[in-house]
Symmetry: C2
Subunit: 80 residues, 2 copies
């Protein structure tokens, strides 16, 4: 996975999850340092509707498998 | 919420999520420092089946609302 590409892709995510993966909005999860495997699994679940959330569905929908791996690698690389 | 009561309740969770909320098993989420509101929301979703996971369903099923608030407070209190 390419964490740098993930960083670029994460610009839209930063609005809620913070530029460094620390959520700006209470109730939204911190992602910094989270296990890449877990984050990727959740993004796939949001994308495929296996996990439902009205905010995350449209965010995850357009993501490719590579985008997902890169995003997960980027967040895992951040200091929690 | 009572984080100490949450700590006692979290003994069974530690097997996968770690005694200090750092997951022992790749692919399982770190919970240390996670937003209490988010953790509680996910536990309720697992308990009520709104979010499905074969491992978490039986874990969350027996939890009371108070248990959930206490567990969420406990994990939020841990250093990520």
């Amino acid at each position: 996975a390419d964490a740098e590409a993930g960083k670029a892709k994460a610009v839209v995510c930063a609005a809620c999850h913070g530029g460094e993966g620390k959520a700006m909005i209470p109730g939204y999860p911190h992602l910094a340092g989270q296990s890449a495997q877990y984050t990727a699994k959740q993004l796939r679940a949001f994308r495929d509707g296996q996990r439902q959330d009205p905010v995350m569905a449209p965010m995850a929908k357009p993501l490719s498998d590579a985008d997902i791996e890169n995003l997960a690698a980027w967040y895992a690389s951040l200091k929690p």
